[in-house]
């Protein structure tokens, strides 16, 4: 329980940060805009939060629809240099017009990046994306061959992801990291996996753990037990102290005494506060990991900027989350009911990281 408990210093820090966070909410400056440009995917990962499929009924969003929102709603109201656009999926590389999309957003002064499983990130494709202004990329890399291929359900997926990372490292100035989904299968080999990543020349690494949504909901082979979760937190803390690789736990949830030890910043869910997404069907929401029914509008019906400025109340005022197990929780003031992606359609909390510690 040592790691979970908040010391006086952090308690005071969180009290101060609470006020700063209120300011961030009040300002709600748009800093990250996800464009879920496709739900198509070339893999069928066991833990996929989006539950995407190879053949989807939801068609890709036409590029011109996204650009129309950018030109008419976003660009007139923001400094493009301060907004990062993230192309998200599905697997973004299945879109043939990704380079064109990249060139168009670059032309408008935005930086852009993408998350990929690396399956089709060949040197040639990467170079054409870099030429189209790609500035930052994240590659999913879940563990050694057996672990990665099991999760990704494809015998070539590890080799392809490894090659993709090697290709990325050949590009000077391209910001990148690798993302590992921590599952029970990798827990006993975390040290070994870390050494492998360092030996591959990777300097930035992010870990997340599975939360019960999409396909992962019913697959027990993906879920860490409380002891494994604590071990993971201790591992991240130790690795950060060593300083050989820049490791962080993803934004996920409030972590008590591990706050600032396993991430660079205090916990806060920025979905709908500084982060918006335009989903493949035009829905306007917080970040793409929010799977519950929290769409605040739709680009085909509503004005994006009006929605961003005047809606998003459930994201910005979290008083409504003070129910069930959160009702009397002593750390609610710091976590405000956890990440929006951890709430189901009825607002019920599906998973509490703090209680799990």
């Amino acid at each position: 329980m040592k790691g979970k408990r908040l010391g006086i210093r952090k308690h005071l820090g969180l009290k101060l940060f609470k006020g700063l966070y209120d300011g961030v909410v009040e300002r709600h400056e748009l800093r990250t805009l996800f464009w879920e440009c496709t739900l198509r995917c070339n893999l069928k990962c066991r833990h996929c939060g989006s539950d995407c499929r190879v053949d989807v009924s939801e068609a890709d969003m036409p590029l011109e629809d996204f650009l129309k929102v950018l030109d008419e709603e976003v660009t007139p109201n923001v400094d493009p240099a301060k907004v990062l656009i993230i192309f998200s999926g599905g697997e973004v590389l299945v879109r043939k017009d990704l380079e064109e999309a990249g060139r168009e957003v670059t032309k408008r002064g935005y930086m852009w990046g993408m998350v990929t499983n690396g399956m089709s990130l060949t040197r040639e494709r990467l170079r054409s994306l870099v030429a189209a202004g790609l500035r930052t990329v994240s590659v999913s890399f879940d563990g050694f061959e057996d672990v990665h291929n099991y999760i990704r359900q494809n015998p070539d997926s590890f080799a392809r992801a490894r090659q993709a990372v090697a290709n990325i490292r050949e590009v000077e100035g391209l910001t990148y990291d690798v993302i590992t989904c921590a599952t029970p299968a990798i827990m006993d080999r975390l040290e070994e996996w870390k050494e492998f990543l360092i030996s591959e020349g990777i300097c930035r690494w992010r870990i997340f753990s599975v939360f019960p949504a999409g396909r992962a909901k019913r697959d027990e082979t993906l879920h860490l037990n409380p002891e494994q979760f604590r071990t993971l937190m201790e591992f991240i803390r130790k690795t950060r102290k060593e300083g050989h690789i820049n490791l962080s736990y993803a934004c996920e949830g409030f972590l008590g005494g591990y706050e600032t030890e396993v991430r660079d910043h205090f916990y806060m869910c920025t979905a709908g506060v500084t982060v918006a997404s335009i989903r493949v069907n035009g829905d306007i929401s917080g970040c793409t990991s929010v799977r519950g029914n929290y769409a605040q509008g739709n680009i085909y019906r509503d004005r994006f900027w009006d929605v961003w400025q005047n809606r998003f109340t459930p994201f910005r005022n979290r008083e409504w989350t003070k129910k069930d197990e959160c009702a009397d929780c002593k750390v609610w003031e710091f976590c405000r009911g956890g990440g929006m992606h951890l709430r189901d359609d009825n607002g019920k909390l599906m998973y509490c990281h703090y209680n799990f510690l």
Partner: protein, 114 residues
């Protein structure tokens, strides 16, 4: 208590970086400050679960292209009789060089006159 006080107190607790991040001011034509010279405290960039790291500030280029650019510059360089390589210089550098040569010549002429 305003944000600056809170950040100062967080700094005293050794937690300032957890609450904000230092960013460079972007250049605007009407901005009298040169680009990237003034640090300012900004809201922290949260590393989102399905997100990407915020770009480091450089424009990305394949390493081979970077090398090629270097090689092209070398090709433009002229080899001097003593074997040294003369690289092309800018107009500004050329003006400075001419001024330097003129000054040296004037000094030599003055010496001879003495």
């Amino acid at each position: 208590m305003n944000a600056k006080w809170k950040i100062a107190l967080l700094a005293m607790l050794g937690l300032s970086t957890a609450a904000c991040c230092s960013t460079k001011k972007s250049k605007k034509s009407e901005d009298p400050q040169p680009a990237g010279v003034e640090d300012q405290m900004d809201d922290p960039r949260v590393m989102l679960m399905y997100g990407v790291p915020f770009p480091d500030g450089q424009v990305a280029r394949p390493v081979e292209d970077v090398k090629e650019a270097g090689e092209q510059a070398d090709e433009q360089a002229a080899r001097l009789p003593d074997g040294a390589i003369a690289h092309p210089i800018s107009e500004e550098e050329a003006v400075k060089l001419i001024e330097q040569l003129k000054a040296e010549e004037a000094a030599r002429a003055a010496q001879q006159a003495e």
